[in-house]
């Protein structure tokens, strides 16, 4: 696992949220790697801990109530969890940048977008004002915003949803980071705009050969963008592999269930497969395999033993002993 080729390596990360007398184990032992230049997807339903994992990489978990209980986040071999706050600030935005889900609320309404993009650059680099302006214009042009010179002076509310998300991406690109974490960047957008943004991310990634950690719940998006996929359920990664392995040969009941539950024209007339029940409350997770109450393959050991990762092929791992072969 500690492959030196990895740009980022998350190892056994645990993040708990404390509330009164309960402990919500939002992220409960998550490990995955990102190699330079590849797009890794973190898929899962709401509340499975994917956003928390992403925020923990940048150490942006609000604390309290959030608490990092263990694990390592190795970025170029350095454990980000050991860094002090000032060193961490040098990583954020400069080496790892983030794009958030809601472009409207994620942009500060009282500053112009020029200010907000430029700010990220000035904090990490020494730039002349004229140079800075040029770079901001170029960034906006790169993300496909028409007449960028004028747009610099606009406030976020003057842009459309798609344009705001482009601005967010421009902000993330400002310091040429090695890794961009995109947390459901297209969920709040319309399909046509989503397609634009996905294409934009793909083209940027190819051009600048940076790595992308893409977080989503939409399997269609995953299939479209991912090199490798990590499927999360209830705070753990239940299956990982490349996109073809996951979509064509899923080896975990949850992944299988998700794929079978997708509606589509090709499934017309047939009943959709549905996973019974609901995602467990992270404070009251069932013992053993967290998926066993909803799993149709569950056997007796699933109720008591937390399953280990089983290897299915080159880089294809799944946390299910029953569907092993």
């Amino acid at each position: 696992m500690t492959d030196s080729k990895n740009l980022l390596s998350v190892q056994d990360l645990k993040v708990y949220f404390r509330a009164k007398d309960q402990v919500a184990r939002a992220v409960d032992g998550v490990s995955f790697d990102i190699r330079p230049g590849e797009t890794v997807c973190l898929v899962g339903e709401s509340g499975c801990g994917k956003t928390v994992s992403a925020l923990t990489i940048l150490r942006l978990i609000p604390s309290p109530p959030g608490e990092i209980m263990g694990g390592r986040v190795l970025f170029n071999g350095v454990d980000l969890l050991d860094l002090d706050e000032t060193d961490m600030q040098k990583i954020r935005g400069n080496h790892i940048a983030m794009v958030f889900q809601e472009p409207l609320t994620s942009l500060n309404p009282v500053f112009t977008i020029g200010d907000q993009i430029g700010e990220g650059i000035t904090i990490h680099e020494q730039v002349e004002p004229e140079e800075l302006r040029k770079r901001c214009v170029q960034l906006l042009r790169d993300v496909g915003i028409p007449s960028p010179e004028q747009r610099l002076k606009d406030y976020p509310h003057q842009l459309s949803g798609g344009q705001r998300q482009r601005v967010m991406i421009a902000m993330a690109l400002a310091c040429n980071p090695d890794l961009i974490i995109a947390d459901e960047p297209t969920t709040a957008l319309d399909v046509t705009v989503q397609a634009q943004i996905l294409n934009l991310i793909k083209s940027i990634q190819q051009k600048a050969s940076m790595s992308v950690l893409y977080i989503t719940h939409d399997l269609g998006v995953v299939a479209n963008i991912a090199d490798r996929v990590n499927v999360m359920y209830a705070g753990v990664i239940v299956e990982m592999g490349d996109a073809y392995q996951i979509f064509q040969n899923p080896r975990h009941p949850y992944t299988k269930g998700l794929l079978a539950a997708l509606p589509g024209r090709s499934r017309r007339g047939r009943r959709l497969h549905s996973i019974p029940g609901a995602v467990p409350n992270p404070a009251f997770k069932p013992p053993g395999c967290p998926f066993h109450p909803r799993c149709s393959f569950a056997i007796e050991t699933c109720k008591t033993r937390f399953p280990e990762m089983c290897k299915h092929g080159d880089g294809h791992l799944s946390r299910c002993p029953v569907l092993k072969d």
């Binding site: 339903e45 709401s46 399909v191 719940h217 399997l219 509606p263 589509g264 497969h273 549905s274 995602v279």
Partner: protein
């Protein structure tokens, strides 16, 4: 080229919407004069057949939710007819409308906002049963029956909404709509706020209920995958206009309007083999406050020509059930 017209063949139609318009005034200036109109719904025609599902598809801001509200008469239409089982209900008196209300119900998108947090789910469902002549006992039985029908155990009828998960709340919402035994349910994006695994449960539930009770659905959605799975007919809406109207099979096989085409090709498919460059439209949906003249889609249309910029375009009938609002098709 006919201007509009749905096929008149089928007289047995649950709800026919004809030339429906709803404009919202925009007031400005010292005297708050009406400076312009947001043409949220600009003359649309729909037919909802009994036991069938008509999907209304479009991006946010295209006016689909306004259509839902106008049909339920929560907003008064400015123009047009709503013909429910042969009778125009636009000019009905309050009393008659109150009776008719029970024939059309709605299921909402947001499972959190759609249930009253201060009422138990049992009370929520009983609200619909209050108007009927039922004894307390009968009412309770009916309530329990409705809850079981949507897959919630009747024991939990004295629980409050916050104790339920999103999917369960959505089920309660469906049960509430069913409480008055409607014949038409307007589903306003009922599954888009739900996770995939829960979404499938609700879709199955809706389908089961349709089969059992013979309900008609007006299924409002932006998710073409769900629409393709669930609906019998599809109307594609853009800026207050219907752009294309067809049987689901036909629409997905042979989409004719450039907008429909763009929508369909923008949907990512969950198969890595089909990982082509997603075809995306340029730009965003223009503001409905001052829509472009001529074809509403002209600003983003890849095949736009001079004619589109000038003339308002009517429907062209391609086949019995397939209408398209585009010159290219009409010119054949």
């Amino acid at each position: 080229m006919t201007n509009h017209k749905l096929p008149i063949t089928n007289q047995n139609i649950t709800l026919r919407v004809e030339g429906l318009k709803k404009y919202f005034p925009v007031r400005r200036g010292f005297f708050q004069r009406t400076a312009g109109w947001i043409k949220a719904v600009d003359g649309i025609d729909l037919d909802i057949e009994p036991g069938k599902t008509l999907a209304l598809v479009g991006e946010s801001g295209c006016g689909k939710s306004t259509v839902a509200k106008v049909i339920l008469r929560l907003i008064e239409p400015d123009e047009g007819k709503l013909i429910y089982k042969g009778n125009d209900i636009v000019n009905l008196s309050h009393k008659k409308m109150k009776h008719l209300r029970k024939e059309m119900q709605i299921v909402f998108q947001d499972p959190f906002g759609s249930l009253n947090p201060r009422m138990t789910v049992g009370q929520t469902i009983e609200e619909g049963l209050r108007g009927m002549d039922l004894s307390k006992r009968e009412r309770r039985d009916r309530r329990d029956e409705l809850l079981e029908m949507v897959g919630i155990s009747a024991i939990s009828s004295d629980r409050y909404p916050h104790e339920f998960s999103g999917g369960q709340r959505q089920r309660v919402g469906v049960a509430r709509a069913l409480s008055v035994s409607p014949s038409l349910i307007i589903c306003d994006e009922p599954v888009s706020a739900l996770d995939v695994s829960i979404q499938a449960q609700i879709i199955n539930l809706l389908k089961d209920l349709q089969d059992r009770l013979g309900l008609s659905y007006l299924f409002i959605s932006h998710d073409l995958n769900v629409v393709g799975y669930l609906s019998d007919k599809v109307a594609v809406m853009y800026l207050g206009h219907i752009m294309e109207y067809a049987n689901t099979e036909e629409l997905f096989e042979t989409p004719l309007h450039p907008y429909t085409l763009a929508l369909l090709s923008a949907v990512p498919v969950a198969e890595p083999d089909k990982r082509l460059e997603l075809k995306s439209l340029s730009g965003d949906v223009p503001s409905p406050l001052d829509p472009p003249p001529g074809c509403k889609f002209q600003g983003r249309c890849p095949q736009v020509e001079e004619r589109c910029r000038e003339e308002e375009i009517g429907f062209a009938r391609v086949s019995e059930d397939h209408l398209v609002r585009c010159w290219k098709v009409g010119g054949r």
